[in-house]
Symmetry: C2
Subunit: 300 residues, 2 copies
């Protein structure tokens, strides 16, 4: 089954201890789409300016990503610049030029409106809700956010969360949203806000999933070749949703656990290169091999 | 088979967001001994002053810990005071009174010298080596250390590491000792220093084990009731060595992985109370139940 994603389509300028790249392809919707495309079809909703190179659109289309929902408008494309120190933890934002993204109002083409799997990447929670209003009976709605919305649009975010099945955020966001430092308590509070399933991304430590049935922890893969962490979170979401959509699963515990490991798998690839360098040339055999490595990693 | 441990026997004064305790039983050798005692017999080597209450010695003996190697000498017992903030990460040391521990020179009773499993808790690496000189053909030597020795007695530590099979340290220590931020690289370098097996403790994130065959990651158990992290590292080592000694295993991959999970299991208990509160009343059924919870936690 196919997946709908709404999020940012952007240029990134990134500096890490391994080098610097300027104005490369970035954006949450792109990272999600490309990783999901290794599992199933994706329909992208986003906005770019007239400066967005056609080669990037062709790249998305070559991966079978439907770009009918990608609006091209007058102005420049969203451009983020950031820098990672040698720990490769949280990026320091050097500049953010929202450009056309500032007035983004996602409108879905008619043939997007019956998509069964929906991922609302990190955008204004009001816009996330606006997307859901246009969709008929999705099977799963998953959603991401960031501290900017947790503090700046808390009420709107809480409204959106009532409509969401699966919430995928990082550890700091979980603590900030819940006001709890203890992760078990944080998860309990957040699941009371609406999402029946909460996934907490923990960077190099992997991910945890809290459901009504259990807690699942999938450790991070020990990578020696970390180049650029940008896009890891959205690639996680892409692997997670891609696997569920491909198999037609929704809330089955076993499938959800596998989906988390596929999420970690895809995230572990993306950090091995700048931008989409590592995501361009994957194949299902490489993905399956690393998935099995992940399974073996924590096998008792 | 039985286990020999050398380390500190101490008083702790501890403050955490959950309360404060004064001059309670602490020390690496004690935490290790009590946790190991749930698996097999333990022989303790340490030193205390005349102020050490007989009730603590009776407690150790009630858990079948042999205290023939515990020297009682003129002066006061080692006393550490520390404080944890609400994150429960690294303690802030408020005071350290080494007292009789300052002139500790571990001498083994004769009936200790053929112990097959040996754990050198965090003490001066010169003393760790001195213990090994007294032991005949151990099956496994495991060892811990801390940044104080990594920076203060690096050469001595490197000499000791050549005699060690299993090295159990935390993430910061691994990075500091190797000079590598990347954990895979850090592990590779440290294993070249001597220990064929390296275990890296990662606090709430669990533990990783690097062997010649594979990397194993055991995630931390999601605890809602964290009271005091003191002793978690030594309790990890106690569960790890206790399981290996009980089963008579040495370097079998499957046994080592289970031992790591038993290490995490015992560490998860100790943090639920101050001092030995949670370690006093365990039984094998409770330990086995939590071990199974750990296995289920990361089962794909």
């Amino acid at each position: 089954m196919s997946v709908l994603v709404v999020g940012s389509v952007a240029f990134d300028t990134i500096e890490t201890p391994r080098g610097k790249v300027e104005k490369v392809l970035g954006g949450s919707a792109n990272y999600f789409s490309i990783t999901t495309s290794y599992f199933t079809g994706v329909s992208l909703v986003g906005i770019v300016g007239e400066d967005f190179p056609v080669e990037h659109i062709r790249f998305l289309q070559s991966r079978n990503v439907c770009t009918d929902g990608l609006k091209v408008t007058q102005g420049n494309t969203f451009h983020w610049a950031g820098k990672y120190d040698k720990t490769y933890k949280d990026a320091e934002t050097l500049s953010t030029a929202l450009n056309v993204f500032e007035h983004f109002s996602p409108e879905l083409p008619d043939h997007y409106k019956d998509k069964p799997y929906v991922f609302l990447a990190n955008i204004d929670p009001t816009l996330q809700a606006h997307v859901l209003e246009q969709i008929q009976k999705p099977k799963i709605v998953a959603c991401d956010t960031m501290n900017f919305w947790i503090y700046g649009k808390r009420e709107e975010l809480l409204s959106t969360l009532k409509l969401v099945d699966i919430f995928i955020i990082n550890e700091t966001e979980a603590k900030d949203l819940s006001g709890e430092i203890n992760l078990v308590e944080a998860a309990r509070k957040i699941r009371c806000m609406g999402p029946q399933i909460l996934i907490i991304k923990r960077g190099e430590y992997g991910a945890m999933m809290f459901t009504s049935e259990s807690v699942f922890a999938s450790p991070g893969y020990p990578l020696s070749n970390v180049v650029d962490p940008t896009g890891a979170g959205d690639s996680f979401a892409g692997g997670f949703m891609g696997y569920l959509a491909k198999t037609g699963n929704t809330f089955e515990e076993e499938a959800l656990r596998k989906a988390v490991v596929y999420g970690n798998t895809m995230a572990s690839f993306v950090v091995e290169g700048f931008s989409f360098d590592r995501l361009k040339d994957l194949n299902s055999q490489m993905i399956e091999r690393r998935f099995q490595d992940f399974v073996a990693l924590s096998k008792v």
